[in-house]
Point group: D2
Chain length 187, copies 4
């Protein structure tokens, strides 16, 4: 059995919905368990017990929510020091409104989480553009729920984005399973 | 008189149109001259003779067009070595289609140009979100023309985006003028 | 009189020392005042009352300290919404140990702060490589104090790095002063 | 049999040496073949025939060498359009001198290649800090050969960095092999 942990922060429930959809996708893969936790409730043990970890955040001024960052500073940095997450599998997702023709800050928010993931020595699963529905809920780095229109009016997270999130969960679960006993970083 | 150089690469003419709109904006500011050149035609002298330089590119796989990069590797690196661009003013712009609710790669494309700009020691002018029309043609780092719909079908660069580009030119010209004799980095 | 605010978080006092050195540099510029505050003590009024804001952080897993992020999420986002920081001047600094021949995460930590700065519509002052002492305390994006050797052993922040920080303060103060009444983003 | 392609550009032979060391590492893994090519010699067929692709570049003004970028713009973008690289495995490496306590631009150079990799839908293998010799030749995103001292004097690529590069090759080869038949992105 492989275990996947989904960690997130959410302001208005949109990122939480995305987390739930990813969890549904993970469950579609046989022999993979999933748990979903708010960033402030995640312990080092939760992380070390997982084979894959998925980080999600709303876009806040072009980087992740401070609660996810607090988890990284206070919990992930300890795992990093002791090399306790090396070889696990990871992915990211985000929600945001942004202005206009681009969701300003979405890419950099995902990157701000990915840098932590790379430091931890985790394998990164992107979101291929041939993922069904990508045009409505994806970005190269992961599932992305656009929650505002081009004038910043809230529109919630669409079913299309949730559907992409589900597939992102499926992908990450499969990679986690395939690499579980591969010991790719063993000396 | 302050001089501004606009450097760009273009595939289908969209980035070229944006370059032209920025030049129009620059010309609206008294005592500022502008020249617009394709990346492959720009010399070191063109750059050292300018007080401000604006770099533009289509989004190609999440970073700048190789022709802009070639200019940076072969010309800008020489200016860097000799500190010949220190204290000039700079800005960036881009066009791209991207998929879905975000213009995938737009932010990172702008960043890939900005890193060169920072290495050169140039002051960076962003695009404030209260710029008129921002929702239709802007990103925090500069003017952005979305040239495809969410399914990648080409739609050209909109009048709104060109209008934002014009204002970006105005802003950069004003900063260039204000800093022309300020010698902010003098020892 | 121009006002500059230096905002930082610090774990072991290294980033605090850098903040102090930058403040010393700011004071060398006539007609510029400076205040230095911990991120958790900064209010929206502190920011709106300043003409320039300098953000500093230790490197934590490749991005800024969560306390700086909390300030950005809870205070800066409000300024962004109302366009209250547009046209101010900004810079960044960081400290970090990192491993080996590069201070892992330093560039991305600075970028994580710069994205917020760009969203706010602030003019960005980089650190030119001809700044005296750059080789010992600088990075293209700002002053950087390397606080550990290549094996992560703590070595404190060097006098060289503090000296570069001082000059970074001088530069930002000069740009702030030069742009104070320039109204570069006025409609 | 799994196939890995190493693609690089090199100015003075340092990045080429790193490419060679990575290839040696790949060969240590049973049932994995490797080929090493300069960016300008790589075809779309070379890429589609590979199960893993490793991109390497010298650091040039904070992003990849223009010859690597040209490959991405002219060849990778075609693979992206047709989803021909989805599910392959990837990694990056770089060499650079940089100034002072950090190899300026190294992280962003690696990122500039990684964004292309994510767009292509390839699984990303980072370099864990417990990799033997990491302090002398690694960065979170991949193997990194520091080729200049803090004053930019050339020192070549060290044996330590080559040794880390070798292990990076081992890691990527193992992930490639483990995922070869996993069809993780299959609809």
């Amino acid at each position: 059995m492989s275990k996947i942990l989904i960690v997130y922060a959410s302001d208005y429930g949109n990122t939480e919905k995305m987390a739930g959809a990813i969890a549904e996708g993970v469950k579609l893969v046989p022999d993979v368990e999933v748990s979903v936790k708010k960033a402030e409730d995640v312990s080092a043990d939760d992380m070390t017990a997982s084979d894959g970890i998925i980080f999600g955040s709303p876009v806040h001024m072009g980087s992740m929510d401070w609660r996810v960052k607090k988890l990284i500073d206070t919990v992930c940095s300890g795992l990093w020091m002791q090399d306790l997450a090396v070889g696990k599998v990871a992915g990211v997702f985000a929600t945001g409104s942004g202005f206009g023709g681009t969701g300003g800050g979405a890419e950099l928010t995902m990157l701000s989480m990915l840098n932590n993931i790379a430091e931890l020595g985790m394998i990164i699963v992107p979101l291929p553009k041939n993922t069904h529905g990508y045009a409505k809920g994806g970005l190269q780095w992961g599932a992305y729920g656009r929650t505002g229109d081009e004038n910043l009016n809230p529109v919630g997270v669409s079913d299309d984005a949730l559907s992409v999130a589900r597939l992102h969960g499926v992908h990450i679960a499969r990679v986690t399973k395939a690499l579980k006993d591969a010991s790719v970083f063993k000396a």
